[in-house]
Amino acid sequence: MTDALGMTLLTLEVGLASLAVSLVPGLFLAWVLARRRFRGRALLQTLVGLPLVLPPVAVGLGLLLLLGRRGPVGSALHRWFGWDLLFTWQAAAIASSVMAFPLLVRSAQHAFAEVPERLEQVASALGSGPWRVFFTVSLPLARRGIVYGVVLSFARGLGEFGATNLVAGSIPGRTETLALGIYARIQSGQEPAALGLAAISVLLAFAATYASELYLSGPSRR
C-alpha cells in the first residue's frame, strides 16, 4: 500500500529532522546543566523539562500562537523569507523536537553527570582544550545515556500527535504521520488499516531501539 509507504517515509523524515534540530542544542544544554552551577539553573532545568509535563495539545497551542503568521516567529519568518510554517512537515518536525527535547536532555545530562569529573580535569591538566576534552573524554564516556536519550527522543518524535496535529494539521500526503494516520483510520472505522500502520510504528520503534542496543553492547572496553 503506497499510502502506508508514503506515511512511513514522512514520519521518518519528520522524526529525523526533529532529531537533527534538537541534537546539538540538546547535548549542549545537557552538558551545561550537568557541569555548571549558575543562577537560574533550576529555572532552566524546569523550562527544558516543561514539554514533558505539559499536555501535548497545550504545547501545540503555544507553538500555534508562535508560528502562525500572527505570532512573533511566524510573522518574522513570513516577512523576511515568505515562509508559512503552519501545515507543513517542518512544523511537524518542530513540534516533535519540542516534545521530545526533555527526553534527550535529561538522559544526556545524567550521562554527562556520571562521567567522573576527575578524568576531565586530568585531560585538561595534560593540555587538552575544553573542546578536545569534551569530544575525547566526556562524550565517549557518556555515550550510553546519550544514545538512550537519542533513541527515546526519536521514538517520541515519531509518535508525536497532539502538538503536531495543531501546527501541522492532519493532511494526508503532506503532514499525516503514522500516528495521525492511525487515528484517522480508527475514526473512519478502517481498523485493519489502522492496525497495519500501528504495526509499522512498532517495527520502526523496535528497529531503532534494537540498533541502539547492538551499538551499546558491542565491544566497549578500550
Binding site: G68, N165, G169, S170, I171, R174
Partner: protein
C-alpha cells in the same frame, strides 16, 4: 461556473493573487491553483469523496484536505493557517473565525444538517428506547463529548433540557469527538453514547437506540465559508460552489446528511 453571476462578483472583490478567473469545467488548463479545505472530522469520508470528484472534473487542480475538531480548525484559521475553505460542525466555530475577520464576506452558507442519535453496543442486554431509559441504573457509563466540541454541546444541551445532565454527569466519560464516542460504544466500554446519525451509519458493533427529534436540539448546522486570508479564496469558492451542485448533494445525502436549501452565496454586502 455553477451559480451564475455571484462567483465573479466575489472574485472581483477578493484579492485573488494566485488564482485566475475560474474557467468552465472541462478546460484543459487547471482552472485555479491548489485548494486547502479544513473540514470537521464528521465530514471526513464525504469531503474526501467530494474532493476526488472535484479533481476529476477540474483537471490539474489539487484539493488538500485537513480534518480535525471544529474548534481546533477554527483556532488554526485564526492564527492564519493557509486554509481556503472551512466547513465546520457548528456555528460557534465559524462565528469565532468570522469575528476575527477570516471569512470572505458573503460566502458563509449553512451547508448541511445532521441529527443526534444515542447508540448502544449491539449486544446490549436491555434496550434503551427513549430518554427516560438513559437515567436508569443499567446505564453505568455514558459517553458524551465535552461541550467545547460541537456534538458535546448539542448532546449536553439536550440532556439539560430533559433534566438529565446533572443526574448523568457522574456517569459520563468524555471522548474527544463523535468518532471516538462511537469507538467507545463499539468496544463496549460504555453503555451508551451520543453520536451523529451520519457516524452511526459506519457502526458495526453498535446500533442506534433512538434518534433525538430535530425539534428537541438546537439546529445542528454545518456552515461553510471561504477564508479571506487563505492563499486561494477563488479556488475555495469554486469548491464550495461544487459542493452545492448535484454532485455534492448526492454525496452528502448518500452519507446521511441533510442538505439544506442552498441559497446562492450572498453578494449583498459591499460593492463590486
Amino acid at each position: 461556473m455553477t451559480s451564475g453571476p455571484s462567483p465573479r462578483a466575489v472574485d472581483r472583490r477578493a484579492p485573488v493573487e494566485k488564482a485566475p478567473n475560474p474557467k468552465p469545467v472541462g478546460a484543459t488548463a487547471p482552472s485555479h491553483g491548489p485548494v486547502l479545505v479544513s473540514g470537521a472530522s464528521s465530514l471526513r469520508e464525504v469531503l474526501t469523496a467530494l474532493a476526488a470528484r472535484y479533481e476529476e472534473s477540474h483537471a490539474g487542480v489539487s484539493v488538500t484536505l485537513n480534518f480535525g475538531p471544529s474548534n481546533v480548525l477554527a483556532r488554526q484559521i485564526v492564527e492564519l493557517a493557509p486554509v481556503d475553505l472551512f466547513v465546520s460542525a457548528d456555528g460557534a466555530s465559524m462565528d469565532a473565525v468570522e469575528k476575527q475577520g477570516r471569512v470572505l464576506p458573503g460566502t458563509r452558507v449553512d451547508l448541511l444538517s445532521n441529527s443526534l442519535v444515542v447508540v448502544v453496543p449491539s449486544d446490549a442486554a436491555d434496550p434503551v428506547r427513549s430518554w427516560n431509559d438513559l437515567a436508569s441504573s443499567r446505564i453505568r457509563r455514558i459517553a458524551v463529548c465535552d461541550a467545547s466540541v460541537p456534538i458535546g454541546g448539542y448532546a449536553r444541551t439536550w440532556l439539560a433540557s430533559k433534566g438529565l445532565l446533572a443526574r448523568l454527569s457522574g456517569r459520563m466519560v468524555r471522548p474527544d469527538d463523535a468518532r471516538a464516542t462511537l469507538a467507545m460504544v463499539e468496544s463496549g466500554s460504555v453503555d451508551a453514547g451520543f453520536v451523529y446519525k451520519t457516524d452511526a451509519r459506519a457502526a458495526r458493533r453498535s446500533r442506534v437506540a433512538f434518534e433525538i427529534p430535530s425539534g428537541e436540539t438546537p439546529g445542528i448546522i454545518y456552515p461553510a465559508a471561504v477564508m479571506a486570508r487563505g492563499p486561494n479564496p477563488g479556488g475555495g469558492k469554486s469548491f464550495l460552489d461544487f459542493a452545492t451542485t448535484s454532485h455534492g448533494i448526492r454525496l452528502f445525502s448518500g452519507a446521511g446528511f441533510v442538505v439544506l436549501e442552498n441559497p446562492p452565496p450572498k453578494t449583498t454586502r459591499g460593492g463590486p
